[in-house]
Symmetry: C2
């Protein structure tokens, strides 16, 4: 399509490490001013420049000013790569996320980024694209990058594997993952509590035929949410009715809801894995001539930005923390751990029900 051919790069999988041999035709690093250049021009030792750079005590004010002005003149920028090698600290955090483009993870990431940036850390971001293999490859590479810590969101790796990968890292925080305690700090949502809220809300309204529009992607949240639906229904005295549960992958909330409603037309209440699925469900109801909320009530999860703008506006389960706050919390926990201070190692977050038009 595009007039671009790429440098040939090869991935060698026989290696214990995933190693990519990049093209040789790479332009060399630009010539850059080094600390030694500054030292020479300022007529002091490299160490003096280094001390000024790191704001160490025991430097006379005159020398300091002098060195600083030379740094200015030369447009000196310290080389963090060299610095990292010498100090065994990279000031980088590796983040693994199942999907960058999801509204949910994007918002969480934003909160984490803010906290990390404010504390001098940079983010190395990788998208696992909902693949276990890639999660493993990414975590391995983070080890090679010698990141100071990693954050994992909604991992697909099973508990034992994830645990062993995280143990190899300097510090780790897992958000909505299953990990053995000790391997990483952990932020998780209380899925049973939230699902109970939703189910109770629909039942108290006199609805009796609830359906669940789930997601198939393999993660703690998808599993727990589905399991909780069954449990909550049972707790309310209903036999689990698998006919009224249907799951599919991202993007097909609309189709799934539509098939579900066609298969089980008696359904009068739908709980959807997230707000995007719920939006699809609203559309499906509309097309099938089912009025919302009169015929079918719809509840989503996450309270995304558009939830209150939909018509009817969406009743949804909102986390007690905003999504950026969740990211920020996880980031703060990671920083604590990097600093060697142990913190509470498991945060459990609740949802609250935001009642709007789709399920009053």
């Amino acid at each position: 399509m595009l007039p671009l051919t790429l440098a040939v790069t090869q991935v060698h999988n026989k290696y214990p490490i995933r190693y990519i041999f990049a093209s040789k035709f790479v332009s060399r690093q630009k010539e850059r001013v080094t600390l030694a250049d500054v030292a020479q021009k300022a007529d002091v030792s490299a160490m003096t420049v280094s001390r000024v750079l790191n704001n160490k005590d025991g430097i006379s004010e005159t020398t300091r000013e002098h060195v600083l002005s030379i740094m200015q003149d030369l447009g000196y920028r310290p080389n963090r790569v060299a610095r990292s090698l010498a100090t065994a600290q990279t000031l980088k955090i590796g983040i693994v996320i199942p999907s960058i483009s999801s509204a949910y993870f994007g918002a969480v990431l934003e909160g984490a980024e803010r906290v990390l940036w404010d504390n001098g850390y940079h983010i190395l971001l990788c998208n696992s694209a909902n693949s276990k293999k890639r999660e493993q490859a990414i975590l391995d590479l983070f080890e090679e990058d010698r990141v100071d810590g990693v954050m994992v969101f909604s991992a697909h790796l099973p508990c034992d594997q994830l645990t062993s990968y995280l143990k190899k890292q300097r510090a780790a925080v897992a958000v909505n993952c299953e990990v053995e305690p000790g391997a990483a700090e952990c932020v998780v949502t209380n899925e049973m509590q939230s699902m109970s809220l939703a189910v109770a809300h629909l039942l108290k309204d006199g609805r009796r035929h609830l359906g669940y529009v789930g997601q198939t992607i393999n993660s703690r949240t998808t599993r727990e949410r589905q399991r909780s639906f069954v449990l909550a229904m049972q707790a309310a005295g209903f036999a689990p009715d698998l006919e009224r549960m249907m799951a599919s992958d991202r993007g097909s909330g609309y189709l799934t809801a539509r098939r579900l409603l066609e298969k089980a037309p008696e359904i009068d209440g739908l709980i959807c894995f997230n707000d995007e699925f719920a939006a699809g469900a609203l559309r499906a109801c509309y097309e099938l001539g089912r009025r919302v909320p009169d015929d079918v009530a719809v509840i989503g999860y996450d309270d995304i930005f558009l939830a209150e703008l939909l018509t009817p506006s969406l009743t949804t389960l909102r986390l007690e923390l905003t999504k950026p706050e969740v990211g920020a919390l996880a980031a703060r926990m990671l920083l604590e751990r990097i600093a060697g201070r142990p913190t509470q190692d498991r945060f459990m977050l609740k949802h609250e029900l935001i009642v709007r038009e789709s399920a009053p």
Copy 2:
């Protein structure tokens, strides 16, 4: 709120570089197997190990197998920091994005990540949070990180400053930014073309009182889209009517549309900066009792995932490339440039009008 106190870190702004002095109480790097360890155990020189690692020719099969097995045994992972220092290549790309959580940028980012990962590059991601100061700080830090290239999306820095920052980088691609040619490759949208499509579509429908719901955030796209609206209206023979244009920042598309409709009730067609704004406009129409599209037609930009799920489904301007494709294109251009092969240095992308219910 949370039982967490942070390691005290300070940002010193008097320095020419933004330098953060992190806490001293940082846990040291885990003891790790080095290349020298492997060499010793395998009873070969470091260079032999290095050659095996890099898949160089001129190694006997036996030695290679032997070294590989020792690497396995020891669980060796090469240190990319050291490698970067020695080779002056980091295999990292710095990305500056105005907002991670926006559906638009998230999708673009995802495409870029995929291409970069496939070619062995990692992403250093920073959120400029729509701040010029932060953009500058980020670009400075990318220089210190010695990234192999940078990608900038919808920068806020004015053309001349952005140009000078990008010139200092090894390679750069700017997406929807104004940059002097040569400083960076560039992918931009043709705003005049797209706005003309939208305006023509509404006018041919007999509508005469068009309004524009804009965004105030300072970027090429916001400026161009607004300017194009005026120009397109003039070209169609209407005097520019500033009364029918209103802009606000992110999140308040609903409010802006509402105020606009109250101020200029004769409006029968709205063009909105993006689909989220358009969703707000739909809601505003609903609340004001204006039927869409009968009383007011609404057009958005981007064709986000939810656009066709809204009721009425949204007529919108979709780029000829999907958002991930835009990211992927930009990433490929960057890789070409890193490889030293010059490519076309400006891509101009068109929009097409996706006609749905909100403006048939």
